[in-house]
């Protein structure tokens, strides 16, 4: 381990893999270049907006002491769900031995990596003092664990990132070498990732539902609702990724894995809507101050109606998405499925983001109504984070497709002869 890398053949081989992966990641047709250039430009706008926010203070956002979390934390919550949703490929593949899903499961893990990076960035941009970020590092800073739920979130999110980076990296590298991955080195981590995926979204729900002073969040149903909606948005996002990959690479697979995901979405969406209506019934039927946030969210309160349009849009998108997913056409490779995916992703982004975080603050703990609309800076930063996430995801998917279609693999003598021939075959 301590040897300089140029003396270590394994390290050299790995560095060569990274080098060639970088080549693949930056190579493509004009659509790819246009896509990556556009994403980079958007990410740059976001980075600049964040830098301005750090310099001039968070007064550049539209948050206030009344609504002290906004678009950033809303987007954070959604992205955590997206990351957890990837597990819905892992469970069929590993717990139920679905062979075809097994081949594609790495795509779910790639989505998880990109989503975790986006959620972490969403928290970092929400910090007033990012220069003091090191205070959060256990051992160096002062980590208020196990009392603060935020420290749990730091642990589970970073842990989930490490687990998925390890699994994806290991499988890709072994495949690149033309070897069969050794189950000892990844199967235990895959099972760990199943538990971990549940934990990231549960802990994120606990961040909110553990606050007794915020009745809108203070419900035991929050974590199950988070998971159910994550198991819609995650697989929906993966379905879109699969579609794009299938249309842009030589990689082929049968319609079955996608059909499994659609079945999962059907059940998860039904569970999500059931819990959602159960929550609404409890709030509105019993009434009182517990319902005041929900009242503001759906109908407005004292003339303040900032979230009404958001929430009804979300309701309609979720319902339309659910209906489309239940159509037989959703099981086929047509246009119904991607439309249903987009409806559900947008619907849940609003439901879990603006529809959940903001009403927690309106009315305030002393029942004052101060509204919130994200500022231009907040939109730029958030869209910039999405652009960055999509850059990461594009690169990962491109790399995965190249390795899995044998376009990228080792040229070193120790590798399998089969692989050699397919490289120089053309």
């Amino acid at each position: 381990m301590g040897n300089p890398t140029h003396h270590n053949p394994v390290a050299m081989s790995y560095l060569r893999f990274l080098w060639r992966a970088m080549g693949v990641a930056t190579d493509g047709n004009w659509v790819f270049y246009a896509w990556m250039t556009a994403l980079t430009a958007i990410a740059l706008v976001g980075a600049n907006a964040w830098a301005v926010q750090v310099r001039d203070g968070m007064i550049t956002t539209n948050m206030s002491d009344h609504v002290s979390w906004g678009l950033y934390i809303a987007n954070f919550t959604f992205c955590v769900g997206l990351a957890a949703g990837g597990v819905m490929m892992v469970i069929p593949a590993y717990l139920y031995g679905d062979e075809e899903m097994h081949h594609l499961v790495i795509i779910g893990e790639a989505v998880a990596i990109a989503a975790i990076l986006m959620s972490t960035l969403s928290v970092v941009v929400d910090l007033g003092r990012p220069d003091r970020f090191w205070h959060l590092i256990p051992g160096i800073g002062k980590f208020n664990w196990p009392v603060s739920m935020l420290t749990w979130d730091v642990i589970v999110l970073n842990g989930y990132l490490v687990i998925n980076v390890h699994i994806v990296g290991y499988l890709l590298y072994e495949r690149y070498l033309g070897k069969t991955p050794n189950p000892v080195w990844y199967v235990p981590f895959v099972f760990l990732s199943i538990i971990w995926a549940i934990s990231i979204h549960t802990v994120t729900a606990f961040l909110y539902c553990g606050l007794g002073g915020r009745p809108f969040w203070n419900t035991a149903l929050l974590a199950p609702r988070f998971l159910a909606s994550a198991f819609v948005s995650g697989p929906a996002f993966i379905l879109l990724g699969l579609r794009i990959l299938r249309m842009n690479s030589r990689w082929v697979w049968s319609p079955r894995p996608a059909q499994t995901l659609v079945q999962i979405i059907r059940i998860a969406m039904a569970a999500n809507l059931l819990m959602f209506f159960s929550e609404l019934f409890t709030l509105f039927y019993s009434g009182g101050t517990h319902a005041s946030s929900a009242h503001y969210l759906f109908f407005g309160s004292h003339g303040a109606t900032g979230l009404v349009a958001w929430t009804w849009t979300s309701m309609i998108l979720n319902l339309v998405g659910a209906v489309l997913f239940f159509l037989p056409a959703a099981l086929e490779r047509g246009m119904v499925r991607p439309i249903a995916c987009v409806c559900c992703i947008l619907g849940i982004w609003i439901e879990k983001g603006m529809g959940l975080i903001i009403p927690g603050f309106i009315p305030s703990t002393l029942h004052e109504i101060v509204e919130y609309t994200p500022s231009l800076i907040e939109w730029k930063v958030t869209i910039g984070i999405w652009a960055f996430g999509l850059i990461v995801l594009t690169i990962l998917l491109k790399l995965i497709a190249a390795v899995f279609t044998d376009q990228l693999h080792t040229t070193e003598p120790e590798s399998a002869a089969v692989v050699q021939s397919s490289l120089h075959g053309a």
């Binding site: 190579d27 220069d131 208020n144 603060s148 730091v154 606050l211 029942h367």
Partner: protein, 312 residues
Amino acid sequence: MSNKPVQLPVVNTETEGRRGFFKACGATLGLAAWATSLRPLVEWAGELSMDELLQKHFRELTSDQKQTVFKKLEEDTKENYGADVTISDHPALPGVQYAYALNLSICIGCRKCSEACHIENNHDRKTNNSYIRVFEMEKGGINFDQGDANYDHPVPQPGKFYMPVQCQQCENPPCVKACPIEATWQEPDGIVVVDYNWCIGCRYCEAACPYHARRFNWEAPTIPADEINPNQGYLSNRIRPQGVMEKCTFCLHRTREGKMPACLEACPTGARVFGNILDPNSEIRWVIENKRTFVLKEELGTKPHFYYFFDE
């Protein structure tokens, strides 16, 4: 086609020369664009000192280190605000538990307490910030739904009563539990404080507080030099940096020196009672023992050290 002798970054053997050249140009331009877009960060970082960046948690500083920090902060205040101030440590006194009580029967809602807090604690002048919000309430219940903190008319109004709310200095503070980095904690005398040099500004404590007692410095406070209160405590009224939380400290830089909080001194009706509940002869002890007091949101189990009472 393969095995080119020289490889530029982002160019490898699988790409043609021309494409590789464009990739290298693209990468260079990309890096330049990133540097440009992040330039505001460099401007901001220029104002930070390495000492401040690496400062340890307040409770881990030795008294020598504390003196160095206080001196540095005094110099910074002189440089940025043009005022000569004294910043010191005001350790908690042994055998003291502070409590506050407020007589709702005689509070007239004049907001003198709020104003005194604003001046005493060196609050931002632009936002007119204060740790105290006074609610005009409908008689017939204690219902904040019917309350209004933004009233703008002579007081007291018929049919109304007035309810000032500030940090309740909970015995079981949800804000302290929430903080991921122990930047806020409860002192031995019950006062919850914030180390403004340690807080990362995540605002989880602000979400956790059931009493709207915490404030965030959305930008650096502005105060004219001649209005700055020069008697400052590190954990209380010193001018807060941008991007950190702050809160009421029962004016610990005064009360730990035997004085009364600024809000109490400013109250024209004598509605406010403050003191050490461990002292059997204190006025606060008499109020708690003899008046029918109540605390806000008792059902949350926060156990406030701030009591409200009515005369009859």
